[in-house]
């Protein structure tokens, strides 16, 4: 401590040393960067085969990596915001690989790249159309009555709706970071958590309609900017300080780049489906009220009579835990389990500790329901 009680004690020689170390770091980073190829940052590399396609939607079957321990095939359903590749970011941070290694038979649906031409597609089309056809294709391929579904985020809502409408075709459902009570952000009201909920409620239904009228869809870069706002300082520091932290470490640097690759790949959300997502669900909160309609049919959560595993991240700032946990009181099954994992919305899939717990937790739960 200085006698004056000055809060900052940075000596000039120390500052020079820090600057020199930083210079070396940048030089090493620049050298590493110059050697990189696109293949080095490839994501979603686990081998799989396309088994069905309709319009822009395709269904893929992952090649097994171990003996089958869970007989019922599991279909991974991601949402229209972001892409399923997050579940298979890189070899050592991949929910897909973890599940395959634990003997789960896995499929994934890829919604493709919706453009303005897909403006008129609704959630009804995705849930009761494409997703229903994917389930049907898997049932046909295996000659079985039921499949299990693994929904992620918005895909978890698709999974919930589909399972409630067609329970006779669903063996069990696993929901991860899935919003059910879209006003559940007010339960904890944590600073920096649930901004999308708050922001959407600050708009009127007319605002949403005009937005879609103007752009035809919910542009991917628009949703990207909303997500960036949720971590404002991190967004500002990401490409300078955060990058500097990892730039001289091959492994960390490649991890950083792969994550950036996933973030940059943000498809547009078809307009009419976006209207339902923002107005019916985020604004009017119809799902938890059993008032959400798909193809003229009510999505009644009491029809979720199959086993349900509900996974949420304790520090999820996009889908606050209470928005997911609300499902427990609404399902029509006694076999309802919650799995709370450390980390945030994406961290639960790619974070060092959580992603291992996630894969083993799901595989164990599925095996217990065979």
């Amino acid at each position: 401590m200085t006698s004056s009680g000055a809060p900052i004690r940075i000596k000039p020689d120390q500052a020079i040393a820090e600057a020199a170390a930083l210079g070396e770091k940048i030089a090493r980073g620049a050298a590493l960067f110059s050697k990189l190829h696109d293949d080095d940052v490839a994501i979603a590399t686990t081998p799989k085969d396309e088994v069905w396609r309709q319009d822009k939607v395709s269904l893929h079957h992952y090649r097994p990596l171990a003996d089958k321990k869970v007989v019922t095939p599991v279909l991974i359903v991601y949402g229209l915001i972001g892409r399923y590749t997050m579940a298979d970011l890189q070899e050592d941070r991949s929910l897909v690989r973890n599940l395959l290694n634990l003997g789960v038979d896995l499929y994934v649906v890829d919604w493709g790249n919706p453009s303005r031409a897909d403006r008129w597609l609704t959630l009804d089309d995705y849930i009761d159309g494409y997703l229903a056809d994917c389930v049907e294709a898997i049932r046909e391929r295996h000659g079985i009555d039921k499949v299990s579904l693994l929904g992620i985020c918005e895909g978890g809502v698709f999974t919930t709706c589909y399972a409630a409408l067609h329970p006779q075709t669903v063996k069990s459902i696993v929901l991860t970071i899935t919003p059910i009570d879209f006003h559940g952000d007010t339960v904890e009201n944590r600073l920096g958590h649930g901004f999308i909920n708050l922001w959407t409620r600050s708009l009127t239904p007319d605002d949403v309609d005009r937005l879609i009228e103007a752009y035809g869809n919910l542009p991917g870069e628009f949703m990207g900017s909303v997500f960036s706002q949720m971590t404002p300082m991190r967004t500002l520091m990401k490409y300078n300080l955060d990058l500097l932290e990892v730039v001289d470490d091959d492994k960390k640097f490649l991890n950083f780049l792969r994550m950036e690759k996933w973030i940059a790949d943000r498809p547009h959300h078809p307009g009419e489906a976006a209207k339902q997502w923002l107005k019916d669900l985020y604004q009017d909160n119809k799902l938890i009220k059993n008032a959400f309609m798909i193809n003229g049919r009510q999505v009644d959560l009491r029809n979720l009579t199959m086993p349900v595993l509900n996974v949420f991240a304790k520090d999820d700032h996009i889908i606050p835990p209470a928005t997911s946990q609300a499902l427990g009181a609404k399902v029509g099954t006694r076999d309802y389990t919650e799995l709370a994992l450390p980390g945030g919305h994406v961290g639960v899939f790619v974070g060092g500790k959580s992603q291992a717990l996630l894969g083993s937790g799901i595989a164990k739960w599925l095996a217990g329901r065979e």
């Binding site: 401590m1 200085t2 009680g5 000055a6 809060p7 900052i8 004690r9 940075i10 000596k11 000039p12 120390q14 500052a15 820090e18 085969d49 396309e50 088994v51 069905w52 396609r53 309709q54 319009d55 303005r116 031409a117 897909d118 403006r119 008129w120 597609l121 089309d125 159309g129 229903a132 056809d133 049907e136 294709a137 046909e140 391929r141 600073l191 920096g192 901004f195 922001w199 600050s202 708009l203 605002d207 005009r210 937005l211 009228e213 103007a214 752009y215 035809g216 542009p219 870069e221 628009f222 900017s225 960036s228 706002q229 971590t231 404002p232 991190r234 967004t235 500002l236 520091m237 300080l241």
Partner: protein, 288 residues
């Protein structure tokens, strides 16, 4: 969308620029090292920030005073005409630079929405609507930046307070990294608090709506020229896409029905076995 993203991002850029200025100031101050080689505690204290605020206030007062002086001088020192004084006051009011061009907006609005006489001035009207939307977006952007600036001032104030409290507790930050971490944490909290405020949500909604209006005004111009030169308009393309979507929806429903329908047993197997198989499984499958 790009315009909106740019404008939205501008708030962040301004904030980043403000940060750079802060750290530039710190770095400059670091050059004036004390006897021990450490930064003098007074550089980032609340008093300094208060002084900076006062300087801004003085500048603002000067601007107001200047605008009033100009208004007075423009009248040649004659007895004040309230109408002229009001007009000049508006023209030289510096607030107009911050909050946008209300008067111009209103005039353009009247022109854009005035009575339509056949096709007279129709193109000009569309252009004015577009310009009107553009100025509205600019105004909303400035208003949003003002909210962001307030957030920054709050953050900077808390940051200085934190440093002072550390000094009181005889704690010290030993590296720039620690200093930066404290700033990031403080600024992040201030920004997140601001994001939950009514003012932030309101100004952001206004930007979003203004950018939407601008986009729609641009589309109207595009439609006008598309019709003039015989190209399909956005509306016509949307109609086509809607039809295609509906047809595909019907096709999927028919395919589903045909899958669920029992295969006719009275069809002689030798006549068309391939067709029967296809009908029973019309799904397009990469594996089949």
């Amino acid at each position: 969308m790009q315009a909106m993203a740019e404008l939205w991002g501008r708030g962040g850029k301004d904030f980043a620029a403000a940060q750079q200025n802060l750290f530039f100031g710190m770095a400059k101050a670091a050059g004036q090292k004390g006897a021990s080689g450490a930064l003098p505690a007074s550089i980032l204290d609340t008093e300094g920030l208060t002084q900076a605020n006062q300087a801004f206030g003085k500048l603002w007062s000067s601007a107001i005073e200047l605008s009033q002086t100009i208004s007075r001088n423009m009248q040649g020192g004659e007895t004040h005409d309230p109408i002229v004084a009001g007009l000049l006051g508006k023209i030289f009011d510096p607030r107009a630079w911050f909050s946008g061009t209300d008067g111009m907006d209103q005039a353009l609005q009247r022109m854009a929405e005035g009575p339509r006489l056949a096709d007279l001035w129709d193109t000009e009207r569309k252009m004015l609507t577009l310009f009107n939307a553009w100025t509205a977006l600019r105004r909303c952007s400035l208003e949003h930046n003002t909210v962001m600036l307030e957030a920054w001032l709050q953050a900077a104030g808390k940051f200085a307070k934190n440093l002072n409290e550390k000094a009181d507790r005889m704690e010290a930050l030993g590296s720039w990294r620690e200093l930066l971490a404290l700033w990031v944490e403080t600024a992040n909290t201030a920004l997140l608090e601001t994001q939950r405020s009514e003012a932030y949500l309101k100004s952001q909604r206004k930007i979003l709506m203004a950018s939407t209006d601008l986009r729609l005004a641009q589309q109207e111009i595009a439609t006008f020229y598309s019709e003039m030169f015989g190209y399909p308009t956005r509306e016509e393309l949307d109609d086509v896409h809607r039809t295609v979507t509906e047809l595909r929806r019907e096709l999927r429903a028919l395919q589903r029905m045909s899958r669920q329908a029992p295969v006719k047993v009275d069809t002689p197997p030798e006549t068309s076995p391939k067709r029967t198989r296809k009908q029973s499984n019309p799904r397009r499958s990469a594996s089949s």
